[in-house]
């Protein structure tokens, strides 16, 4: 467990950087105001903010990569026993 302490410190450092990035981008976003009638391109089906891959691809990725995240809350376990 002692060896895991640096990992937690690294995680905190990484999260701090991400928060800083978020604040920066939010500030930048406030400078540009896109009006409803300017959203034709944003409404295209390929511009969905959800994951583009289907359930088969998502499951294969979840099983074949040791990392997770970027999905949505409420997902069941992978069942990869």
């Amino acid at each position: 467990m002692i060896a895991m302490a640096p990992t937690a410190a690294l995680a905190r450092k990484a999260l701090s950087r991400v928060l800083l990035l978020v604040v920066s981008l939010v500030t930048l976003g406030g400078c540009i105001h896109v009006r409803p009638y300017q959203r034709e391109r944003l409404a295209h089906s390929t511009m969905t903010t959800a994951d583009w891959g289907g359930p088969g691809e998502a499951h294969a990725r979840a099983v074949r990569e040791g990392a997770t995240g970027g999905g949505s809350a409420g997902e069941a376990g992978c069942g990869c026993n």
Partner: protein
């Protein structure tokens, strides 16, 4: 079983509701052909038909309040480690933009056939299993503030899992900025095939917190940045995975990719089951950049990941999709993933006077690896004379994985082919 029945029941209700919505056509002129009823083009005169009424006589179709979409997918996975998976799935989406609600339900079946080196090295020759999974989600967003709830299940003979969760979203700056906060709870029951869960099982709980901010950068660009914290508690060790042990002198000479026969010849008699830590805190930070050109879309994604087991990873994903006329969409996909091993990873665990290592694993997805994926895809929108609300298509992804410090194999080539069918209801 109760969860499966509940989900199937919900799916049926949604299908019936969608059918009902689709069967309530908007007002259309008597001359309109039946095939046109209900489509956005229903009131448009057919310019190719001499019997079409003049345009001034056509009444405009009332906009449909409830929009629905049914999607079917058949995915087939195969790899050079003799694992094959066929996954048919079905999903349904309903949404009422004026009332601000939406609903989603999905169901899939995984049919798995495997004879991988991990199975063969455990003296088991072949293994097949079927997994069922499903979920439902509903959102309500009458104004700038929205709420959502979701639930899902996964069931196979030796593994049961269910999860539930909720989200809150808030639009700011006239929808140029959207904040999301979510929480999910999941419970897994891990057993052994042929043994009742009451006789043998491990429990694993999962508390997941996530947050994201979506920013409309300009009329063609969206950026999403998010983070996840997942707290897992319980024993998620695989009850089938045996870990070979070596004497210290022999272990030093075990090279990556050492074959099953050599491992069996060199290992000690003792072969304990895998044992993983009982707690894992997982952190992920991710970003998604979407840009729409005049006739193409670029999607870039990056995820940074770390956890208290010492695994660090980076996953980069890019897709470029091009419209070819009104009907065709051509897509390309590349993905690169790299990860370090967990802190207790060893290629060859040793048995010493201190005994068996307390933590041990043979799960190569916990070891050091990198993988590269390349893929192509195509979608075709059907319907005459103009593309209407249905499409078919397919994707093919090929992934090369390099295992940097593993027994048995050093690489794996995998392919996943997907056939997709979608229709608006």
């Amino acid at each position: 079983m109760r969860l499966q029945l509940t989900s199937a029941f919900l799916l049926i209700i949604l299908l019936v509701a969608a059918k009902g919505a689709a069967e309530t056509p908007p007002p259309s002129p008597p001359e309109a052909r039946p095939a046109d009823a209900g489509s956005p083009d229903a009131a448009k005169p057919d310019a190719t038909s001499p019997t079409s009424p003049p345009q001034t006589e056509a009444r405009p179709a009332a906009p449909r309040r409830i929009a629905g979409r049914l999607r079917g997918e058949l995915a087939a996975y195969t790899d050079s480690d003799h694992v094959d998976v066929v996954t048919p799935s079905l999903s349904l989406d309903l949404a009422d933009a004026t009332q601000g609600w939406s609903a989603h339900a999905d169901y899939l079946v995984d049919a798995v056939s495997a004879a991988s080196v991990d199975i063969v090295s455990s003296a088991s020759r072949h293994w097949t299993e079927t997994r069922q999974a499903g979920g439902a989600q509903a959102t309500f967003k009458p104004g700038d503030l929205g709420v959502g709830a979701a639930g899902s299940f996964s069931s196979e003979p030796d593994y049961l899992a269910w999860a539930t969760g909720g989200t809150v979203t808030l639009d700011l700056d006239q929808k140029n900025l959207t904040l999301l906060a979510g929480y999910g709870y999941g419970h897994d029951t891990i057993g052994r095939s042929g043994t009742p869960f009451s006789v043998f099982s491990h429990s694993l709980t999962r508390n997941a917190f996530n947050g994201a901010v979506t920013i409309v950068m300009d009329p063609a660009t969206i950026v999403v940045i998010g983070g996840d914290l997942i707290l897992e508690r319980g024993d998620q060790s695989k009850p089938y995975r045996y870990v070979p042990l070596f004497s210290p002198g022999v272990a030093a000479g075990i090279a990556p990719g050492t074959s099953i026969d050599d491992v069996n010849r060199l290992r000690l008699q003792e072969r304990p089951l895998e044992q993983l830590p009982l707690a894992r805190d997982r952190y992920a930070a991710w970003g998604r950049y979407l840009h729409r050109y005049a006739h193409a879309t670029l999607r870039l994604e990056e995820r940074l990941y770390t956890d208290t087991w010492g695994l660090h990873a980076s996953s980069s994903d890019a897709r470029f999709m091009i419209d070819r006329g009104d009907r065709w969409l051509l897509a390309s996909h590349v993905r690169f993933h790299a990860q370090s091993p967990v802190s207790f990873w060893q290629r060859a665990y040793t048995l010493t006077d201190a005994g068996v290592p307390a933590l041990r694993t043979g799960d190569r997805e916990l070891g050091p690896l990198w993988s590269a994926t390349g893929g192509i895809g195509v979608r075709w929108k059907g319907g005459r004379p103009q593309p209407t609300g249905w499409s078919i298509g397919g994707d093919l992804d090929v992934t090369w994985t390099s295992f940097l410090d593993d027994l048995y194999i050093g690489s794996r080539l995998a392919g996943i082919a997907t056939f997709v069918w979608e229709t608006d209801l």
